[in-house]
Symmetry: D2
Subunit: 434 residues, 4 copies
């Protein structure tokens, strides 16, 4: 990160490509990467990997950018070799020729990352590196193959079989809890006392850890054990809410799930975590009858604002704290809930729902069960979706079928009540908008 002064006066940094300090470190690092792939790399790999990553860690933003570009330009398969192997295979589709084709088609970049990973602490650095690539991808689309190659490796390295689920509680190290507070992406955690309530006897928090990143939760989920299915999130988050007896709960409400490391984007984690938590809770609390989420509808407000067919609506919604006025709120409810049903059931992107949370849970085999009016009246909740929240229900017996219908036919599993809200909304004149 450049300081303001450096930014203004051009001190410290330098245009990419010129033979200055930052470029020297990039050239050094790329040189080491090349030698890591030679014979020398075989015998001194750990040392070279270590040195490379140390240089990378010390790079400033500009150098990193150069480095990523260099990674994307180098370490790709040799097109000629691939062409020849392709032709050989066409002439004689033998196992040998296939193996040869596969070998030359695999980017050397993958072997590079495998060898970099031999250094102590490398896995975390590589995950972070991929996170930075994503952060710059919109302006540097040429980095995409680097992210893709790392993604291929990470899917293998972060295989479910290597993940360990641990419960997060008040006896967890403060350094871990601090990360939970920092990473939480759905319902902000305001410090340790706020977190403490979320770890009380009627709450659960579970995280996946990977042995190579022992101090970093990579994904975590927060659960409330309640009587009845929660429709509103504020009571769950309320610091002074009385702690109830979890043994008497009949519902496990998943009210937050957060991926911690952006570098692991695309690696399947959430679905495995939810299933493991359902399994563990079922054993610990035999009285649980219902596993459901209380989820945000992150794209609803943005979607609605793009379709300004309801000028009156927009005006009402622009009033601050409109939801505290009962009359306005009541009137808005009759409009917004059906519109939300439309958003969830009819607004699509390539046949799948526009809403990313809906995509995630439906793909996992959950059913869209209920839309909750004023489910989240926090500033973030109002901004995301005018306070609306949704329950997705996980029913063991239906998960597989829901998933198959969804993935094969893009069929959205929804409760009859939501279906009828949706149908009524159309006949009532709310038009389909997408």
């Amino acid at each position: 990160m450049k300081t303001a002064l450096e930014g203004i006066f051009g001190l410290g940094g330098s245009p990419g490509g010129t033979p200055d300090g930052s470029s020297r470190s990039v050239r050094k690092a790329i040189g080491l990467c090349h030698s890591l792939l030679t014979q020398r790399g075989e015998v001194s790999g750990v040392k070279i990997a270590n040195e490379t990553l140390d240089i990378y860690r010390a790079m400033d933003e500009d150098s990193r950018s150069e480095f990523f570009t260099a990674l994307s330009r180098n370490f790709s398969p040799d097109p000629e070799a691939v062409g020849l192997a392709g032709e050989a295979y066409s002439l004689d589709p033998s196992a040998q020729n296939l193996a040869r084709l596969r070998d030359v088609a695999e980017p050397p970049r993958q072997e590079l990352f495998r060898r970099l990973n031999t250094a102590p602490g490398a896995t975390r650095t590589l995950v972070d590196l991929r996170g930075e690539i994503f952060a710059g991808l919109s302006t540097h689309p040429q980095w995409e193959p680097v992210a893709a190659d790392m993604g291929h490796l990470f899917t293998s390295w972060f295989n479910r079989g290597f993940l360990v689920m641990r419960q997060i509680n008040w006896d967890s190290p403060a350094s871990i809890l601090e990360k939970i507070i920092r990473y939480e992406a759905v319902h902000e955690i305001h410090g340790f006392s706020d977190l403490r309530r979320r770890l009380a006897a009627d709450r659960r928090c579970y995280a996946f850890f990977h042995p190579a990143l022992p101090d970093d939760p990579i994904i975590f989920i927060e659960v409330a054990l309640t009587r009845g299915m929660s429709a509103k999130v504020q009571p769950l988050l309320e610091l002074n809410a009385p702690v109830t007896d979890p043994a008497r709960a009949d519902s496990a409400i998943f009210y937050s799930i957060t991926n911690c490391l952006d570098g692991l984007r695309g690696v399947p984690l959430g679905s495995f975590l939810i299933k493991q938590v359902v399994e563990n809770l079922s054993v610990s609390f035999p009285n649980l009858r219902r596993f459901a989420t209380l989820s945000p509808v992150p794209g609803f407000a943005a979607w609605l604002q793009k379709h300004p067919r309801y000028p009156a609506l927009q005006e009402q919604l622009s009033q601050p704290d409109w939801f505290e006025d009962r009359a306005i709120a009541a009137s808005l409810a009759t409009t917004l809930v059906p519109l939300c049903a439309q958003y969830l059931l009819a607004a699509k992107s390539r046949q799948e729902p526009l809403d990313p949370v809906a995509r995630f849970h439906l793909r996992n085999g959950a059913e869209l069960d209920r839309i909750n009016w004023l489910g989240d009246t926090s500033a973030a909740g109002m901004q995301r979706s005018f306070g609306l929240m949704v329950n997705y229900v996980y029913r063991l017996a239906e998960i597989e079928q829901n998933h198959e219908l969804y993935t094969e036919k893009f069929k959205v599993a929804a409760s009859t009540s939501i279906e009828s809200i949706f149908k009524n909304s159309r006949s009532n004149g709310l038009k389909r908008i997408d």
Copy 2:
């Protein structure tokens, strides 16, 4: 494993392929493997993987054989798709076309094993499965691609970055020590009291563990901390040898290194372990001046017997306990040591030394330092190499160069004394034999 009776009378088993019990389980398992690769596998993967592996674990030898064959026949890339992608790439070598080619050239078998690995305890089962494939590979060469695909994954999964080195000592769990006793491949360990001496203050034992196999050492090495470089192994193994002060040692002698799991064949482990041990010992014992092995010469006797140019020699060697007769031993020494130098320096297989231990250490960058007469007078030692042992020395400053010269030019790093034994042997009329 079939009992003898079953083998003779054909009881219990059944000819492969007929619709009997064992085949049913194979068909069931293969069916599950297929569905693991479908949409259903995405949402219920852990469950299906678990079921598949349970069936596999319960299979008898014949069924496993059928199962491996089915694995090798199925789950291969589609030649036609590969052909088309190859052509497309030839016409337009774009990144997209390359990615597409790579995708269709990757055997679905790899994704299959990744998904199987999501089940609890799967990693160990998969490693064992590959071990069994190796055991049957000579009679079922068609299984080779299965072993290769697993090898590709295992190299990624068992990356040095994911391995944890632990010292094995007398406070280790008995269940781990029992495995050390069972696996030890070089100098047999006769029970716990024998092992105990190998874990005393002047000995060290280190192993790599993988987090997914917490109770299984995957490779381990035994080290003696001595004054002077050991030439004979029996004094190191002697139960009642006085325990010396390790702080006064100047040499670390690696006298045994054992790969525990045959299913990990081809995954680079030994070289990483040796380097880590050298590093750790250097820190703990600053007086250490020399890191060397005391190694067997496993192929020497077999090689010599294949070249029966020395009938008198063969006769002498056929006497039991010839080495206890000083006169005979002295006479044999003058012949066998030069022959061993020839074996190590001149007997080749595809430009590399015939001897597998020599290949391993030379490839790692060690130098062939000394041939030790009557270095191992155990039955196994006499049978392997007429009691000869070898010291390979690891010198930090020379490892890289040795490795490069070896891997690029097959140059064997050897001490001048060995070189001169070798040269004299030729001029003395011992002929080169290979």
Copy 3:
């Protein structure tokens, strides 16, 4: 704890001794205590102990008060038996008669507490019980023998040999850190972020734990690793103070030491903790040249206010935030520092310094080194001692002698500078006051 309403209207509680609910539980508990000392207690001790402690834990304040009184009345030695044994010993001072005398003179209460301690979790409950006795001792002096008997046991149970020192850092469980925050008695900790600074790289926090109370620090100390001896505590506590390199520190400043459990009063802990910390830090940081405290002078203000010979002084000190006025502060410094030297060197209680912190460190063999003007300008610091703080220095070579001179002759080890401030103060007309 009775609510105010209960206290005022006599609801909920009842006068001691009447056969009401609370007394029933006391009678039950005392009955169980008696049977714990019988044969039944030998075989069913754990069960009876458990039941007794459960009843005690459920008692309200009044019942506990009754219970303590009953404990003090019962379970004392039998005076007659002691008298007889004393006479027998006088007539024949044999080992047998001495043993007999000792046996009858030991209060059965001690055996009672030993047997109560066999129940799971008992140790913590017994420590708390003694804490409550101390809290009520001023109004119930008759409870003193109970506290004394428990103290005798605790000194044995919490012997240094059974205590484990653990470093407290940001990886410690949040539940432990929360206790550190709550217990801290010298410089209040304002939540986790405040504590976090105190656990950064240039700070250390160590605590003693006892195996029977694994989740409870019983005493802890906070240390700053600094260059030069700190004179003021605010810079040490400052949240945003830059973290310095501990390896370059030459001083370890003990700026806070807190006993966590009042029930362990009188059990020697602090001196052992300081010595262990000095030992550990010396090993980890060979550059450390000085081990000193930055200590409060808790009794100074109270002492000065009891001796109102300086009306002008009192008036000045009654101004809020007087210390922010440079002129006033400078003028006060010339008066207060010498007075503080008088307080520390001349104000005594039974030959020892009045100030409890001085007594603690001097008894440990430290030397009174320096009085620091405006060393602690927090509200608590101003109230305790008008902002004055003191450095006591621990010099390994002098600790024993200082301790002996102190304990035998009440000689206070003080630096020459403090001695001369003290002497000048007298000749300058500040009179000795005690």
Copy 4:
């Protein structure tokens, strides 16, 4: 330990009391003990304690003997002070005078051991020291008060509340298992493979550990989970006995209990361990209906041989392997079983059974249930009790009453079958012998 040669020729050692090497170390140690009790001891206690124990550990047998004698002569209460305090108390039996009397009557030796215990590793050394005192007590009865004072402390230090029960299994450290093998006092364990069977799925082994001795089991018990109450021990110990399903067991048979550290003699451990094991097993195996021992009768053979009223019997028993002759065995059974009933029910020492194992279990509230003919045909078993073994049954509902009747009236709880064997034996002419 002196070698035989040293013993015979007086080499190496020297007569106690002369100013030689060994005595110098004793004088040094005793001097340190004295200073440990002074002011210096308060401030430098850990250091002095450490030094004292180091000297003690390096002492040879003779020096230790001197040291124990010096410990017993010094550090006793001052008879005069005790006399005066006794008189003062007689004149005025106040709490103060009682406290004073108690203080002077407590041997300073207790405070000495408390202070010695502050050194690292001291607890183990002190326990061993007491063990050595016991070993020499018959020839040095004057050491008894030292053992008694330590016993008083140890009972407090090794209070049940401070002991941790851990299961011993095949995953326990080899160093712990080795101690189990070495300590086992009832049925010798022949190496690790023998022990392994005793840790299989249908066996349990539990031990108490003390936090200050983390690597030393202090008492352990071995349990077989069986169908039906075992009458013979060899089938339980048989290496190749098939491992049965513990979930189907109805009986837990305690077939061995061993105190590991002689220095803890007199500290109640066994009874607490048995009760905790019964509790844990009841929870883990709800099908268990019976908790019983299969116990040796260690004193039976010696008792019988002291009463040689049965010359024919003695002659038969002197035949080697008599028990393998069915006819002889059958004839002996009819005599020995009733005699054993007499031994257990009628042979007394101060009103309690002569047999120490009987005393232990009866005192714990167990019932003498069954005498088993040829229950232990090992050499040790034949020598102890002509192969007889006994089942003592622990019935939760009767334990308290049995214990009370035993401790108060010396009433032995025995099954009706044993009672009737006993009665018949008398009327059949086998005379009571004690």
